[in-house]
């Protein structure tokens, strides 16, 4: 009894958490470079709608995912132009990007609502999917779910084991010093934003091509903002983001699972938990230098950037 509950909960968390995780990874890349993007919601929506439209037109969800990634990357370049080249206020630019994404995606997607796609289907792994409990819980997902953890590890590796990652983090801590050391902060930040856009686009594509297999206006329903909170919760660390996404995704699916089992639960109080937890975690680690945000990002928060 408990076993099947946990299994169902885990499956639900993984499903709901995957787009969150992609978006969080993208945001983490940006914020490591010292840029906060409140418009991630818009990027995800552009990915979702472009992915959906492409899949309808080409019949291939794989092409759809690629198109979504590209669309996300390019869309985020608008944001890049504003905050990197024109040095505009990051928070305002992010919100503007969000508005643009909401409106543009609604416009593009209007004539595609109600279209039918086959979407991304589950991939059955020959032996593993057949295992009794572990099978359906861990080995019955579409390709994007399987890829998300390896991608998280890859990003962790890039951040902490490659020269590019080191330069990126240096820019995030102190762009002037990085510049003096011979790096090109602007180029690095653009690269980071492009990657972030790709990841955000994929997050949106997972929603429209795998989870819901449909397009609806503003279907991200605030998940982009949740990702911003998640980045903070996981302290800008890709591996911790996995746990965070599971937790947040779990919160979304937990209350639905409990309802399906007839357990009286208040969905709203449960939904609050991830945010309160994030705040609590941050406050607890607050003074400690080790857990602080990348310094350049901190300056955004100080208002001096």
């Amino acid at each position: 009894m408990i076993g099947s509950f946990l299994a169902g909960l885990l499956a639900g968390s993984i499903h709901a958490g995957t787009p969150l995780l992609y978006a969080t990874l993208g945001e983490a890349v940006e914020e490591r470079a010292g840029i906060i993007n409140l418009g991630l919601e818009g990027v995800m929506l552009m990915g979702a709608v472009v992915g959906f439209i492409t899949t309808v037109q080409t019949g291939s969800a794989a092409v759809g995912v690629l198109a979504a990634a590209l669309a996300g990357g390019l869309f985020n370049m608008i944001f890049g132009f504003l905050v990197i080249t024109r040095r505009a206020n990051q928070l305002a630019s992010g919100l503007a990007l969000m508005f643009c994404g909401v409106g543009l995606s609604a416009l593009l997607g209007a004539s595609y609502i109600g279209s039918r796609i086959h979407g991304l289907n589950e991939i059955r792994i020959p032996f593993l999917s057949g295992l009794p409990v572990i099978g359906p819980t861990f080995f019955n997902y579409d390709i994007l779910v399987y890829l998300v953890v390896p991608i998280s590890v890859f990003i962790w590796w890039v951040f902490f084991r490659t020269r590019w990652g080191l330069s990126l983090r240096a820019v995030g801590e102190n762009p002037t010093a990085a510049f003096a050391a011979g790096k090109n902060p602007h180029r690095l930040q653009y690269q980071a934003l492009f990657i972030a856009g790709i990841l955000g686009g994929i997050a949106g594509a997972h929603l429209s091509l795998a989870l819901a297999k449909t397009w609806a206006e503003w279907m991200t329903a605030g998940r982009g903002f949740i990702a911003v909170a998640l980045v903070i919760f996981s302290k800008w660390h890709p591996l911790r983001a996995i746990a965070g996404a599971l937790l947040f995704g779990g919160a979304i699916s937990l209350q639905l699972q409990l309802q399906a089992r007839g357990v009286p639960v208040s969905s709203f109080l449960l939904d609050m938990l991830p945010y309160i937890l994030s705040l609590a975690v941050l406050a607890a680690w607050g003074g400690r230098r080790r857990h602080a945000a990348p310094a350049s990002l901190g300056r955004v928060f100080q208002g001096t950037e």
């Binding site: 305002a92 919100l95 643009c100 409106g103 416009l107 309160i276 406050a283 208002g303």
Partner: protein
């Protein structure tokens, strides 16, 4: 003497230059939007003419713009006040909701009081609710634990969920088909409106907030101290200015003003507490305050513009069959244009 005159002239010229530049930016945004309209096969001139006549060309239209401006001005001041010492308040939405929540509690539990007592009571509750909510972030920041940008952002969601919980559960109106809304406010708890329009007494809050804001900043000792902190926090602290007190206080005041926006929306406009209380006024207020550089007159101008765009969106849909989503694009375009041209710091001096 000549030097003074030259100073005055150049100051005025700078102001004028700034205004002209701003006007040019908006004109550019509207031209770009005209092209978007053309791409849809619509007539931009007629569209703009309709927007104008619908918003400014009639007393009714103008009154509707004012109604829309009230919460926008209030949430913008909510951001502008803390921004004086470089605090970033993105939590206007949450503070608005909590303010509305406190006000609703008062309206539901003291509904037998006369209007002269009940209205001031729930107004005060609205201010208190929003203020306390923001003060949480203020305290966390003052203690050096969490940046207020992050905490106000996160607390937005908690606030909205809290209101949802109440409205779906304990506060749900038993007479409304189980729909998630509270019982309607009694007469005595409803902010009255002027004339036959929907412009309600919240406009008094908005004007008062602007005037007080301007007055305190530029004419009082507290304003001076705030400007000192904003200029050089370390030096200010060494001079004995209590920075931590200001941090909490300004967040409280900012949140309180946003709470008033919530109170006036729930009391005057909606008449009951519902999950759909605010279509993002908190975030809009942030953008307005930012566009205006935290300047009271600028806030009025930017709120005015935003109100026109939103009201104009209706007529675009009605008369020109343009899909509703396009209004978001227009807002984004205006913002992009402003953002791309200048790097203005939040707050200004």
């Amino acid at each position: 003497m000549g030097e003074l005159a030259a100073r005055i002239v150049s100051f005025r010229n700078d102001r004028l230059a700034g205004l002209v530049r701003f006007a040019g930016l908006f004109a550019l945004a509207f031209v770009v939007f005209a092209i978007v309209l053309l791409a849809f096969g619509k007539n931009p001139l007629r569209a703009y003419a309709d927007i104008f006549s619908n918003t400014l060309g009639s007393a009714y239209g103008f009154s509707e713009v004012l109604v829309k401006m009230i919460p926008l001005v209030l949430t913008a001041v909510a951001v502008a006040v803390p921004s004086r010492i470089w605090l970033i308040n993105v939590g206007g939405e949450g503070q608005l909701f909590i303010g509305a929540m406190f006000a609703t509690w008062g309206a539901l539990n003291f509904s037998t009081l006369p209007i002269w007592t009940l209205l001031p009571l729930i107004s005060a509750l609205g201010f208190l609710g929003g203020g306390l909510w923001a003060a949480i972030s203020g305290i966390l920041r003052a203690k050096g634990l969490v940046s207020e940008t992050i905490s106000t952002l996160l607390l937005n969601y908690v606030a909205i969920l809290l209101v949802n919980f109440l409205v779906f559960g304990p506060w749900k109106d038993p007479e409304s088909a189980n729909y998630p809304q509270t019982a309607p406010f009694v007469e005595a708890a409803t902010l009255p409106a002027f004339g036959g329009t929907r412009v309600h007494m919240g406009v008094v809050f908005a004007i008062a907030a602007l005037i007080l804001f301007y007055f305190v900043i530029s004419r009082t000792r507290w304003g001076l101290e705030m400007r000192a902190i904003g200029g050089n926090a370390e030096a200010a602290r060494r001079n004995g200015i209590p920075i931590t007190k200001y941090i909490v206080l300004l967040m409280f005041i900012g949140g309180g003003v946003a709470g008033l926006a919530g109170m006036s929306e729930v009391s005057a406009v909606q008449g009951m507490l519902r999950p759909s209380l605010s279509p993002g006024y908190g975030f809009a207020g942030f953008l307005i305050s930012w566009m205006a550089g935290g300047n009271p007159l600028g806030i009025v101008a930017a709120a005015f513009l935003l109100a026109i765009v939103t009201a104009g969106g209706d007529i675009l849909q009605m008369a020109h069959k343009i899909p509703g989503a396009v209004v978001h694009i227009l807002m984004a375009l205006i913002l992009f244009v402003v953002l791309a041209r200048g790097s203005r710091r939040t707050g200004g001096k």
